[in-house]
Structures are given as structure tokens and as C-alpha cells.
Amino acid sequence: MACVNPVPKLYRSVIEDVIEGVRDLFAEEGIEEQVLKDLKQLWETKVLQSKATEDFFRNSIHSPLFTLQLPNSLHQTLQSSTASLVIPAGRPLPSFTTAELSTSNSSASFTFPGYPIHVPAGVTLQTASGHLYKVNVPIMVTQTSGRASILHPIQQVFQQLGQPSVIQSSVPQLNPRSLHATAEKPKRIETVLQQPTILHSGTVDRKHLENATSDILAPPGNEHEIMSEALLSQPESSQYIRLPGVVFPPQVSQTHVHGEPVLGVAGSMTQNLNGGPLSTGRQGAQHQHMSDIQLRVLKNRMFGCGSVKQPRNTEEPSSLPVSEKDSNSQMDLSIQVMDDDINEIIQIDGTGDTSSNDEIGSTRDVEENEFLGIIDAGDLKVLEEEADSISNEDSTANSSDNEDPQIDVVEEDPLNSGDDVSEQDVPDLFDTDNVIVCQYDKIHRSKNKWKFYLKDGVMCFGGRDYVFAKAIGDAEW
């Protein structure tokens, strides 16, 4: 221990200081001491899991109860495996092999020695609570008092799932208006699903849902299949496939791009909530986030779907092919459209909300030339908030603008994607595991030679933590 880096001790002392500092605070608030202890345990557990410190636990508490401390990356595994813990080979854990482990090749419960144990593969661990865990890969077991840490990921999952209720209130505004159901999907699936879903979603928008739903259901059948195929690659996708009351074909939209919450298919989400929250959360934070949004969307849709559908009865031939841009713009336009029977959902290219008015009309015109000719301004105006001017513009500018907006829209994606590439470099560049958080005394530069005078820093390299009081560095740009 003496030769170990000072980080564990430092962290220990910091934790102690913090806990002591908030102890009074907790007492004032009337929080139980146990909560404070739990907080401390959780904190220490996580720090330990991060492998930033090796010998972290020095508790003298001896109890038969020990829980498996799994790295955060194993949350997925925890979700998927209920009966047995299958721990994927994670990071190499510091080994504190004990003699007991070598002898306990079969299930056995033993008193925790008080320091993290490296459990080799093949060992079956049993906690005092009776849980039996078969260790397939080497894991590290640490001692914690209180509830099992394994529950944490589940709690986190439920926590995520529990959020939709809060978010729900913010989404309703979109729900009744959204004619199409959009589902958040993992990025990978988005592009795959977009096209098939877009086609149908476009029709849905045009069609005005509800009666269209029956029509849409037929074509969406393909979509669902397509989606199911694509979705199957991800556990969450199954959620979307199971849509008993799905009215709208799920659409995949890049929420990241739009930045707007996407309405997910209601039916699937509810089922998922009930049946498989774990699977939802399995994907990790990102997926959980998606599921959250899906959930809220789901609820919103369920509330608004029925009402939304029906007004949309005015149907136009649903044979209109929907361009991708339309589908993207659906969200924006749908909000505006609302209750129009005409149901011409003005689709705005997702990239430009404000400037999309002109495009909206033009795009609509382009796709619904036949229909617009008949319906045209009057109907379209109703749909749009600024319909009057826009529709006029559209009618006049249709011919000329039809292609341009489309072209622009079509080109924008590649253009934007080009921009995105460069943009992604920066975020990716900054997203690294090796981070140093510190303060600078002086930063100096000569031509392209930089000198750094840093202090009071915490470094994290590949999960391991280091600290420094001063750091001096040179770099060439």
C-alpha cells in the first residue's frame, strides 16, 4: 500500500470530506443517516468500478454479504441475463486473487475478505441474499454493505423509464398534430429505416391518417417488415415491431439532426414498458434516452391518435410518393397543420424551419402536383399558419421552385453530410477517454511551439486516474 500511487488515498479523503460536509446538511433536511451511507457506498462503488483506484476499499466490515461490482459497461449484460450473470470480458481488473477463490470452484458463499477480489472465470458466487451468480469471465468482487450494486443498473433503467412521465407534458403539443409516427431509433438504424418509412409516412401525412391508416397499414406492412428486419439488429427494435394498435407506420427520423423529439410508435412502447423495460435499457444511456422519448411519444400518441386520425379523413389518393425531405419536414409541418380536413401536411425540410415556408409549398406542390392543382391554395392555406402568403407563393412559384427546393433539399443532405463530416471530426476529436482536468498557470506560445504550465490536475488515462500538483508540457502544433 505504501508504494501505491496516492490517488486512492486522495480519493478516499475527498469522499470522506464530502460526506462529512453533507452530513450536517442531511441532518438539517431530515434525511436519514442511512441515506448518507448509501450515497457513500454508491459513490465508492462506482469509483472502484472505474478501476481508477486499485485498493480502494479498506473497510473492516466483514459480512457474508458481498455483491458483484460490475463495470458500468456491463449494464447491458445485466439487463439481458436474469438468471445467470454472463459477464463479458471487460477491462482487465486488478487481481487480488485470494486463496479462497482457487478452492471455490463451485458455488459457495464465503466471507468477504475485505478487499476487492478478483474472481476467475468459472466460479459461481452466491450472495447472502441467495442470489447465485455464475462467473463466466474474471470479475472483480468488492464488498459493499447495503443493497446489491447489481440493482443499480436496473434502477437506472427504471429511472430512465420513469422519466417519460415528466417529459410527457412537453410533448403533447406535438402529439395531436403529428400525423405520422416517428420513432427514435439508434443512429445506425435510422438511415436504413428512413426510406421505407418515409414513403409511407409521407402518404400518411398526405392522407390524413386515420382512414388512411387502414390504407397505410397495408403498405406499412412492408415497412414493418423492413423495419423489423432492421430493428431486429437491435433489441429495442423489437419494440417497434410489436405494434398492436399501430396506426402510423413508424418513421425513423434523426432526432439528433432535428433536435426535436420524435414521436414513437405508441403501441410498441407501451408494451415494451410493461414487458421489457430491461431490454429497453439494455442498450445503454443512448438507447434509454431513445426509449424515454419513445415512451413519451407513445403516450402522447395514444392520447392524440384517435382524435387526430379522424379529422384527417379527407383523403387524397395516397399514391403520392413521398420524398425523403417531406418526411423530414413532416414534423415541422404537422404541427402547423393540425385540424385541417384537407390534411395536406405541409412538409418542411427538417433543416430549415423558418425558411421552409416557401419550400413547403413548393415541395408539396412538387409531390402533389395533381392534388395541389385542385386543392391548392385554399386548402393549403388552411394547413399552414402563414398559408395565405405561402400558398400564393407556392402556386406562383411552384413550377419554378418545385425543382429548386427539391434539389436544394436533396442536395442539402449531401451538403450537410459533408459539413457533418467535418463537424464530426471536432466532436469525435474531443471525445476521448484520456482527459485531464486541471487549472492553468500559464499557457505560452511561440509560433507553433506551445508551452503549458498547469497545476492541480486530475488525469484519466484508459480509466486509470492520476493526479498532479504541477504539470509542465511542450507541444508543437
Binding site: 486522495l10 446538511l25 441515506v35 454508491l42 462503488t45 482536468v437 492541480d456 486530475v458 492520476y466
Partner: protein, 109 residues
């Protein structure tokens, strides 16, 4: 007020996650969790200033630099960190540095 800079560390992140679970079970209020984090800020700042005494040298190539709101953010490539006891090499490292000239007034307790 101490820098909240250190919340994005292993210690800080784990501390931010812990109260969430307690909040879910209604054992902790968000306000209280915030107080905990503030306490952490003070503690980590003072601990780093007082309890850490080692020095590190490093050398590498600078990929990007950014100075915004008195916060420097660098991304270095192929960096070698040399401490008395060990040498650490990393391909890419991001350095986030707040102004340390006022550190004396920042650390409390």
C-alpha cells in the same frame, strides 16, 4: 465558488450518478444532491491544492486548441507523460484547464 471543473472526473462522475439512484427511490431530493456536488467541488479543489504534491512533465503534439471563457481546451496527440515514478504514453488526450491564477480564492475550507 470552487470550480465545478472536477465533476467530470472519475470521482466526480461517480458522485453525480450516485444521488440519482437515491432520488429515484425518493430518499434524496435533487436540491440536496446539488448541495452534495457543491460540497464535492470544494473538497476536491482543496484536496488537489493541498494534498497533492507531485509533478508531471509531458510532451506531445498539439492537435487543437481552444480558449473560450477563460477555459483552455487542448487536444494533444502522441503524448508522453513523465512522472518520477512512471511514464505514460497516450495517443490522444484532451486537456481542459481553467484559470488557476485565482485558485487561492477558490478553495475554501
Amino acid at each position: 465558488m470552487a470550480y465545478q471543473l472536477y465533476r467530470n472526473t472519475t470521482l466526480g462522475n461517480s458522485l453525480q450518478e450516485s444521488p440519482d439512484e437515491l432520488i429515484q427511490s425518493q430518499q434524496l431530493t435533487p436540491q440536496l444532491a446539488l448541495q452534495v456536488l457543491l460540497q464535492f467541488d470544494k473538497a476536491i479543489n482543496s484536496a488537489l491544492a493541498q494534498r497533492v504534491r507531485n509533478r508531471v512533465n509531458f510532451r506531445g503534439s498539439l492537435n487543437t486548441y481552444r480558449f473560450c471563457d477563460n477555459v483552455w481546451t487542448f487536444v494533444l496527440n502522441d503524448v508522453e507523460f513523465r512522472e518520477v515514478t512512471e511514464l505514460i504514453k497516450v495517443d490522444k488526450v484532451k486537456i481542459v484547464a481553467c484559470d488557476g491564477k485565482n485558485t487561492g480564492s477558490n478553495t475554501t475550507e
